[in-house]
């Protein structure tokens, strides 16, 4: 709508007059003269992408995304959709947060640095470990970084990284890519009724093991019962014990530091983000022993020239922009703004709210399992374990048919076996759970 501006980018403010004056100042006839590109590789085609008004663009995106069907998602398996308090959006959307760069000039970035420092502190309390970084991309990449950290700091000649056989395939594959440039090899250890098969794990552990990874709750929603023993096994083998979890689970379940975890990874965006098609926030906490080997950004405290407390990015000599190929990671852009959202969401909940959500994750999942189990033709939970948020149910009919039928009724569930579906309560109001039970009953009958 800038009538006196040249057409083109709506976000370039130049008037025709400005442009003329500027070209004169740089002694060029046209803007094209400023491009020093040999003719033979100059692009003279078109992208064939239409320009649109803001309103038309909004309508386009709304119409494309409008093709997504509305479903009550009883989905989890590592990704959860809690209700996001309105305050989170309103504060995180303040443009100073949203539109600022990494805090290389801390004197004009104190607010964001403090928020990230508080985020780190939240993770320190949740994990009991001394150090948490500002973020890795997501749970899978955080797991990958944990393995390369293990590779850097463990003195052993070993190369084996052990993960549970039930680990999500995506996490396993991401881990494999992260260790592809090292000597590490990813191997699986057996699982027993959802949880770690401790005897089986013990059998496979040897001095070649550099890292043991376990999750709680597991991908099947079971709460791991022998974390301390896994930690001991790892310690005995001089291997890293890396534990996967998330902030809500950590509010209630055993504190990682108490079970010997060297690193905690996971998706912290269970607080702060809606489901967002899998977008996440890689939680990464570890012991202060590995301070100078940690990947990612760290915010620390210092003083300014007037001796007032001030925050700053610190230990940057670990990072790629300084250490280049000897950096502790290649990460540069991370998930800082998501970390801010997570910190605000956690602050809105407070410790009582977080513990309450965690307790409800247990009681609501177990209650729902009981109700589902009452349906003839369904057994739930299939694992004789305590559950968090979700559980696997056995259905007499083919699971995919059951899921398809439920989908027609507006419910999305996981299919995790020929006769197994998985159901998660997170973010689903009680009234919808009631409807789900009724729907499942109808589908099974």
């Amino acid at each position: 709508m800038h009538g006196s501006h040249t057409s083109g980018s709506p976000y370039a403010p130049h008037t025709a007059e400005d442009r003329t004056a500027m070209l004169e100042a740089v002694d060029a006839e046209t803007v094209e003269d400023l491009f020093d590109i040999p003719d033979d590789i100059r692009f003279d085609g078109q992208f064939d992408i239409d320009a649109r008004t803001e309103r038309e663009t909004r309508r386009l995106v709304r119409s494309v995304l409008g093709r997504n069907d509305d479903r009550t998602e009883l989905l989890g398996r590592g990704h959860y959709g809690y209700y996001i308090p309105s305050l989170v959006d309103h504060l995180a959307d303040r443009s100073e947060f949203l539109t600022s760069y990494t805090q290389y000039q801390p004197e004009i970035s104190q607010g964001f640095l403090q928020a990230l420092f508080e985020y780190q502190s939240l993770l320190v309390e949740l994990t009991g470990l001394e150090i948490a970084n500002c973020s890795i991309y997501d749970a899978a990449t955080a797991l990958g970084e944990a393995a390369t950290l293990a590779d850097r700091v463990r003195d052993t000649t070993g190369h084996r990284v052990l993960v549970p056989e039930l680990l999500r395939e995506e996490r396993k594959s991401t881990l494999a890519n992260y260790v592809a440039g090292t000597d590490l090899a990813v191997e699986e250890y057996p699982v027993d009724d959802g949880n770690v098969d401790l005897a089986g794990l013990e059998e496979t552990v040897d001095e070649e093991v550099v890292m043991i990874y376990a999750e709680t709750p597991t991908v099947r929603g079971t709460i791991e019962e022998r974390l301390g023993a896994i930690g001991d096994l790892a310690a005995d083998a001089d291997a890293f014990f890396v534990l996967g979890s998330d902030p809500i689970a950590l509010s209630l379940l055993e504190r990682p530091a108490d079970v010997g975890a060297d690193v905690v990874v996971g998706d912290a965006s269970v607080l702060g983000l809606p489901t967002s098609y899998g977008m996440g926030l890689g939680l990464f906490a570890t012991s202060e022993d590995y301070l100078r080997q940690v990947p990612g950004r760290l915010v620390g405290v210092s003083e300014d020239a007037t001796d007032r407390r001030a925050f700053t990015l610190t230990l940057q000599t670990r990072e790629q922009h300084i250490r280049r190929e000897r950096a502790t990671s290649n990460i540069c852009t991370n998930q800082a703004w998501v970390a801010l959202r997570t910190a605000i969401h956690a602050a809105v909940l407070g410790p009582s709210g977080m513990v309450e959500l965690a307790k409800r994750a247990v009681t609501r999942a177990e209650d729902l399992a009981e109700r589902v189990d009452d349906i003839v033709g369904v057994q739930a939970p299939v694992h004789d374990r305590r559950h968090f948020r979700e559980f696997v149910a056995r259905v007499d009919q083919p699971a995919s048919a059951v899921a398809d039928d439920l989908e027609q009724l507006g419910f999305a569930v996981h299919v995790v076996g020929n006769h197994e579906i998985q159901v998660c309560v997170t973010g689903v109001p009680d009234v919808q759970l009631d409807r789900f039970v009724a729907a499942l009953e109808g589908v099974i009958r």
Partner: protein, 479 residues
Amino acid sequence: EYEPLLSEKDLTRVDIGDGDNGDGGESTDSPLPDDLTRDSLELPELSEPELARHYTRLSQMIYGIDSGPYPLGSCTMKYNPKFTEDVAALPSAAVHPDRSEASVQGTLELLYRLQDYLGRIGGMDAVTLQPPAGAAGEFVGIRVAAAYHEHNGEGHRNEVIVPESAHGTNFASAALGGYDVVSLPSDDEGRVDLEALEAALSENTAALMLTNPNTLGLFERDIAEIAEMVHDVGGLLYYDGANLNALLGRARPGDMGFDVMHYNVHKTFATPHGGGGPGAGPVGVVDELAPFLPSPRVRKRDANSKTGKPVYERFEPEHTIGKVHGFDGNWLVLVKTFAYIARLGDEGLADASASAVLNANYLAEQIDYEIPYGPFHHEFVASAGEQDAADVAKRMLDYGVHPPTTKWPEIVPEALMTEPTEIESKDTLDRLAAAFNAVADEDADTLEAAPERTTARRIDQTSAARNPRLSWQALADDS
């Protein structure tokens, strides 16, 4: 002015367990046996008004793009159109990644169309949207190159060549991929030294990573020859998309001979940087490399749906390297990217580059610092000369503007790497130049004492690193 930490406002301990209420803590019944739970959780418990004020205050201690010019060279900070936030916040954008394909056709269509947009813009045949940031994109490129060579029985290639003036992530990503990094010096004019390149290339060369225009803003004029040289030894040519905002509509990496590239969507397509992220680093490749891209990608089925609409599906590239993210990357960022491209179209994108290049050249003309290399495009690297570039930056803060990137690339002594982008008006550039020039006239004492007018004065980096206190817990222990 000073805002206390949340923990300084309140710390409340909530005891887990069955009624054993410690001193001052809260307790509630636990649904789990003691041995599966922690003892307590101690965090701030504050009300909504208190939190609104805390974070509002914090936000006021941050300089963002809506505060003023942000000429960070190579970091490309530009205005983030507000409407892209609205479309990313649509309820229909919030779906779980494990939803069935049939029920998320909207999401898949958007991803497909964005793949297509990016392919056209970069001149690439196939695109993955999975990498969650530029560096992750580089890593994917490296992994794809490795898989390609491996597939062709050339797994012995163990070197990646990187110009010494390249972004630090290039080195780190290659190293993360297990490669030996061969650093390539620049020639006298600030471009790739072809003789040095000749010397560096060998049968062990897996790839050459290049930014074009390079970090001095110079177009690598010999790019066609470089491509031929690399290809002649069987290597691949990687394009670091950090500087793509200089070329839109004028040149495409694919046309220059690049085999693989990443796009920095916050740099080129104006998604917000969010104080450090999230970003997205889609990777485009030529046909030959497409089978190695991460899985899944999205394609259109041959047959339409019953309602006549195209049907989209996920698929696994034949020789895929697998996953580099637990799901499909930073979805919300991709939505904003799509919206930005769809808003600007051909003409808007081309104008963005034209205006960015004009702005850089105009600004350069106005400032008193020497600029050793040119002709440059979207950015230039001035030299602070006798002044310390980092001090210059601190002093610029006092003039109410964000300073340029400093002390890098090292080829320019005391570098001031400056990129105004297309969003600055002539008036703003004049103000920015005035800030540069005011500082240029100041003495070392003034510079060392800067900044004076900021929320915090100069912050001691050394003591922060020497005595790392990285949490409020550490701070409490410390005092």
